[in-house]
Amino acid sequence: MIIANTIAIFQKELQGYFGSPLAYIVAAVFWLISGLFFVELLLGQEGIIQQVATSEQLGIATAPVDVVYLFLNSFFAVMGSLSLFILPILSMGLYAEERKRGTIELLATSPITNWVVALGKLLGVVAFFIVMILPLLIYEAIAFSAAKPPIPPVVPLLAHLGLILLATAILSLGMFISSLTDSSIIAAILTFALVLFLWIIDLIANNIGGEFGEALKHISLLESYNNLVQGIFDTSDLILLASYIFLGLFLTALSIETFRFSRQ
């Protein structure tokens, strides 16, 4: 029953994205920018291949360089940052639109819990994000198939997992923010502010050093993401990302409950 309801909300949500012009615009911008970076990072003037070639010519290169690995790192660093700015637009309407349209009243008076609604919505928007990163797999496959020696599949796999988990965490928190207001624009702006805040935390963590810096590193989403992208599999990173996702879900369910209680 719970699963069936979650699927019902999930389908509705996903269908909503595929029927929305805004979602296509977001996807198009994402594909354009990620494609540009892909080509630039790989083949451009400042690209990885060019850099390695130059350093070999000059005889600076001391050890053999794993080009594919380097490229993967820098590409996913860009993807992470790009996602941070795209995701608030995907999550802004999750609840704000329901509140504005009054459909929240239908969901809140149907025999389904707030948790199920929140989970279904989150899965829906994450599924749309996954659809957005699917085309990237095609050009990654083309580029990596030329790699000699071939890159172990676990590395790109972890990187993609990291990207999806990072996105899920941001979307989950964005969903909570969306549940606080009935204006999508306000939800998007507040989520951007949150993303900036997370970014600043990561910057501070990496620059001040010391115990405080180390402590901040432990709660930084981007730090965990970077670890996964580098192919470092650490359960503490997974737990941190999962905690953020759960926190977003929990706060959403809570805020929908309280919002009903205090509604004017």
């Binding site: 349209r101 009054g102 239908l106 025999p111």
Partner: protein
């Protein structure tokens, strides 16, 4: 089927409803009538389990709407003030979604959706996106989503708002056709709606229940204000005093401006004392004075009078005792 007792809702410093109480029998249609801002929507929302009450209890099918919310939600269909519609879905797709989250088994869904579509006369629009529907059609989709899972209790908050006169009749007939098989509470500020569709009426004003009764009984309550409207031709002055002599006549008022356009006519509004029927004497008096009796009409209080009487004078008529 529905029991509401001592229900109050306070938002900060304002009291939306206070000590609201009524009950609805299975198969009955109860009209919840009140001016705008009387607390109708608040009461409907509490009944549907959307809002918790500050104090008091509401029970639907013997389940507390707040404590046993899930049980209640399974048994109600609810049309909020603004129909909850996903504009980018088709009528059919939307009703399928609603049936799903209301817990209709997959095998029955298609059949129930088609039934609701037919019942709300949406057949030729079932493949249309809700975004493209007019207000009247959207309202019907709103009603269809409240019916689709065939709940025993249906709560409709202003179901006929925004409908044209023909749709209005159709929707009223639809609601009437559900009587007996479903228990319905509908809120409205439109008086004829109540007398046309409801078995009983609860009148609410400024958050308080001022009367609960059948529409006919409510009108009887005010029968003391029944009277006659008489249009005469000729000088009204002698008639005026003569009429006041008749026993059973309480007051006589002259309304010259409301008389027919023909000159020399006067409209008299006569109210009778309790249960008096002085029609014969009134007619005789006018004719004996040699005046033309152009029109004579019995006036009874309409539901509108009852409503105005109850909501403007703060008069609490205790008609809740319904043996």
């Amino acid at each position: 089927m529905i029991e509401v007792e001592h229900l109050s809702k306070i938002y900060g410093s304002t009291t939306a409803i206070e000590d609201v109480h009524f009950s609805v029998e299975a198969g009955e249609i109860l009209g919840f009538l009140g001016p705008n801002g009387a607390g109708k929507t608040t009461t409907m929302r509490i009944l549907a389990g959307y809002l918790p009450a500050t104090t008091g209890t509401a029970r639907v099918a013997n389940y507390d709407v707040h404590k046993q919310s899930m049980e209640v939600r399974r048994r109600i269909g609810y049309l909020p003030e603004t129909p909850p519609l996903y504009l980018d879905m088709t009528v059919e797709g939307f009703l399928h979604f609603v049936a799903k989250i209301k817990g209709v088994p997959a095998g029955d869904r298609s059949q129930k959706v088609i039934f609701a579509i037919k019942r709300c006369q949406l057949l030729e629009r079932q493949k249309v996106m809700i975004r493209k529907l007019s207000k009247g059609y959207r309202q019907r989709v709103g009603i269809a989503q409240a019916l689709v899972h065939e709940p025993p209790v249906i709560i409709l908050d202003e179901p006929t708002i925004g409908l044209d006169p023909i749709q209005l009749i159709e929707v009223r007939n639809l609601i009437k056709s559900l009587a007996g098989e479903r228990t319905i509470v509908l809120s409205t500020h439109i008086l004829p709606e109540v007398s046309m569709t409801c078995d009983r009426v609860t009148i609410i004003n400024r958050g308080k229940v001022v009367a609960t009764n059948t529409p006919i009984n409510l009108m009887k309550e005010l029968s003391s204000s029944s009277g006659y409207e008489v249009e005469i031709e000729g000088d009204a002055a002698p008639v005026f005093s003569a009429l006041q002599q008749i026993s059973g006549v309480a007051t006589v008022e002259v309304h010259r401006e409301r008389a027919s356009s023909a000159s020399n006519r006067t409209l008299l509004q006569i109210t009778c004392s309790d249960n008096a029927e002085p029609g014969k004497e009134i007619a005789a008096t006018i004719v004996n004075l040699g005046l033309g009796l152009q029109e004579m009409r019995r006036t009874r209080p309409s539901l509108e009078d009852v409503f105005l009487h109850l909501t403007t004078e703060d008069l609490v008529v205790s008609t809740q005792e319904e043996n």
